[in-house]
Symmetry: C2
Subunit: 156 residues, 2 copies
Amino acid sequence: MRSFFDYNWQVRDEWFAWCKQLSEEDLLKERVGGPKSILYTLFHIIDVEYSWVRAVMGKEDIAESFEEYSTLEKLKDLSDTYRKEIQVFLNVCPDEWTKNDLVQASWLNAGFTKFEIGHHIIAHEIHHIGQLSVWSRELGLKPVSANGIGRGLQNI
Amino acid sequence: MRSFFDYNWQVRDEWFAWCKQLSEEDLLKERVGGPKSILYTLFHIIDVEYSWVRAVMGKEDIAESFEEYSTLEKLKDLSDTYRKEIQVFLNVCPDEWTKNDLVQASWLNAGFTKFEIGHHIIAHEIHHIGQLSVWSRELGLKPVSANGIGRGLQNI
């Protein structure tokens, strides 16, 4: 599962770099088919990943507000900060995602296994990145590659 | 990795069912941001998955033509036929995707590890499904859920 996190983080960072060519207006413009805007979609990806990882950690959810992170720089900082914490968790508990024990998601009032939550986190980000790729083409811009090959992913 | 294949297949079948509400014109209409049309995107997903799995199997690529499968029924049959073969392979060789040995992709004239190819297959489908979800909203329709939770995925 760690390698899928690495894949998502590589792709996410390439989207952060891609975003630098856009105006604030284009970053925040509400579009059809995904969560609000390009920047909000990135916030949503970061927020959802962290919320589910915290749930698996057994920690309470932290509900951040988009308004606090509505610039590219602030959002990249949030992504980096959360990532460091998640990386430590993945290093210390690499097998957590293989477990079928139930985790309670406070914001859904429902329980899911750590195994399915891992899959959910990974698929959630790739799905929304696919939406960004459509918006990119609508802007006449080449999207970031979603390729899983050629990224140096290794089973170590 | 098997559970990610199962996730993709569940979601794909839900998109096949979703497509039944569309006219042939809407299914084949070329759109912005993904591979041509809704039906072509599904063909592309099926074709790419099978090509990479065959490469990992050490078998030659079979280049199918979209024109042979450009109805919902024919494409669903193709998906089902390929899936049965892939399921057998996943059952017999479940650990193939953990290996770092190189596989030659004839259509790219390049080599990639089985490990990264597995990730590529999974991310490739989720990415394009994300694009379908935008087109769905553009048509004023609710897309298929991309949730990984609530699908009964289990580590067995």
